[in-house]
Homo-oligomer: 385 residues x 2
């Protein structure tokens, strides 16, 4: 089997599985906030994990706030920045290629809180135009409550110029949130160096347990309670800490740290795969081809062949891919990301997304290439009728 849907969800890493198997043999299950020794042991385990994770993502341990994942993290950050924004700051700058959480949350702040959203332009490779952001910042400067632009796109894998964006925001004293869900555990990321004010992580995107994750906050005093509760996570995230999942986050991000030197090889294999695919199938298109992308992400379209047809063919070879973002995978239309990139429907409906992990390599790409070539050859005949 080749699993090629890491941007949708990463299966548990082998080291995480091993950890969990050993963990289940212990009797250490209790409330980390209890004063008995079991509770205290679990609590100190959480703090050790915070240390490990801080090293992996380049921040101070007390800049990490554990939660249930990025959808919660994004909702929490937007609430903190927008609900508590000064009254004169009613402009939000966002890209049109954000993950579904962002537009759905922004709609709420637009409709019920009187915010106005200004969209930054995106080029044909799915990368935001800095010039467009620059203009918006200069036009709306002191009325801007927040700039929200993701770090790596979930569909195309296109990396966004987050350092340039954070520099621009810092110069203008504007808060910058970057959805780093697809970058953490898949590419180079260092929170402090990035200059971002808020970032997020989902455990299930990095090979840890689903339902885990965290917020990174440069200045934690800007965070406000969203999931209410007691003093957990310094009063900023109520609910009994999901300690076993937090432990798997530390195991997974530590594994990434130890293996991220494999990323250049993965990227090279991906580029070779894409080049060979295009050589054999002249009509085939790689979306975001010229963008710097996540090492293992390709969004591929063959005009006139529906992505789902290709997905099914690949599955008959035991290769698992999706047609776009997992969470909108059963919507048979061009995604909002591709529309934003002005991709024609004929191309947009035909896409399949391959997203591989740092533990995969050229062998996987070779097998995928073979199966994909067979699928294209078969389906283009059907298309011709």
């Amino acid at each position: 089997m080749i699993y090629a849907d890491y941007n949708g969800s990463a299966p548990l890493l082998p080291c995480v599985k091993d950890y969990l198997k050993r963990r289940l043999e212990t009797d250490l299950f209790a409330n980390p906030n209890a004063i008995h020794s079991m509770g205290q042991k679990i609590y100190s385990g959480i703090e050790k994990c915070r240390e490990v994770i801080s090293k992996s993502v380049g921040c101070y341990p007390d800049q990490i706030f554990f939660n249930s994942g990025s959808s919660e993290g994004i909702s929490h950050i937007l609430f903190s920045c927008l609900e508590y924004a000064p009254k004169n700051k009613k402009i939000i700058i966002a890209s049109g290629i954000e993950h579904a959480v962002i537009p759905s949350a922004l709609k709420y702040y637009e409709e019920r809180r009187g915010f106005e959203i200004k969209k930054v332009d995106v080029n044909q490779d799915g990368v935001i135009e800095l010039e467009s952001l620059y203009k918006l910042i200069h036009e709306f400067n002191s009325s801007i409550a927040l700039v929200t632009i993701m770090a790596a796109n979930n569909e195309t894998g296109a990396l966004q110029p987050i350092r340039d964006i954070s520099q621009l925001c810092q110069e203008n004293n504007i808060l910058f949130f970057s959805d780093t869900t697809q970058l953490i555990g898949k590419g180079d990321f260092h929170f402090e160096d990035s200059g971002i004010d808020f970032a997020v992580c989902s455990g299930h995107k990095v090979g840890a347990l689903t339902g885990s994750g965290f917020i990174l906050a440069k200045n934690p005093t800007l965070l406000r309670s969203y999931i209410f509760g007691s003093h957990q996570e310094r009063g900023l995230r109520g609910g009994t800490q999901n300690y076993m999942a937090i432990e798997t986050l530390a195991v997974a991000l530590d594994d990434f740290m130890k293996n991220k030197n494999k990323l250049p090889l993965l990227e090279e294999a991906r580029k070779k795969f894409e080049a060979e695919l295009k050589k054999d199938f002249l009509d085939c298109r790689i979306i975001g081809e010229n963008a710097q992308r996540l090492a293992g992400t390709s969004l591929i379209s063959y005009p006139g062949i529906h992505g789902q047809a290709i997905q099914i063919e690949l599955e008959s070879h035991n290769i698992f891919v999706t047609t776009s973002a997992a969470c909108s995978d059963n919507q048979p239309e061009t995604s909002h990301v591709l529309k934003e990139m002005k991709i024609e429907d004929d191309i947009g409906r035909g896409v399949i997304r391959l997203s591989l992990s740092y533990h995969q390599n050229q062998n996987d790409y070779e097998m995928i290439l073979k199966a994909l070539a067979q699928a294209f050859n078969k389906l283009k005949k059907i298309k011709a009728y």
Copy 2:
């Protein structure tokens, strides 16, 4: 070892551990929203769990919304009911014995949304006074946005008259949310029969994985998005579904269904334990003694002896208890629940909470009694100095 902190957190049930060990041997880890067969298998697993859980809690499957647990569930329900309340409804009726999430959330709605909180009286056994609720409802009737009263108190175990409350609320067309975190998986509960509008569950209170849980909504159209996202949980709870944790919720609540006939025996053993303790230690006090309580919960105080001292003594016998609610366990003062019950500080600071599960029995209580008697005898001598 005797673990007696089930109201704080239930260790994973043995059947849940077994399930997880087998589950980790599979390769079925993917995004349940993906169209490939792995995603679809996981998705249909979630829906099977919804069926199992619906039977255990007495509701329709589509009244269940999976989330990360009760703190999220409560925050979500309060947001749905209060943020979207008609403008003329600005009164919230709440008890003063609610779990910390509720007062901290209500403070937000009071300070930033102009709501006013009216507290319903509580008797000396920690049970709300229906007469007091009746008066408040008649005084504020059409301006009441919500009544929020828990089903079973986490510290005393006192059961609240939720059927009477829901009847009163229904007669007056008022929404009633009951925090059922401590009742589900520990006592008799049937959502439909209860008449409650909204209820919540936390996985780690029922022996499932931490970081899992759900909302029950009588009328799901009253729920609004709080954790934003895509179409997950019918568009009402964003974020990739925590499928493995949901699976453990089904395993745990099914185990409860099969074993809840053990509850009367547990209650009998608890009553016998309490009677013997009081016989041997005349000064000893059981808080909420005359209330109907969760079968395995006792909140015990020995005036002048600090609860933490008893907790440490018991731990030397490998018995794990807490001094009050786990999440405020390291605050050395009388809890807000006991203050509300007008318990004097001398008693309030001395409490230890024993909370046992339906898998425990008279043997456990006998061992606890022996250790507790030793602790009391030792510590009351120190107290005398």
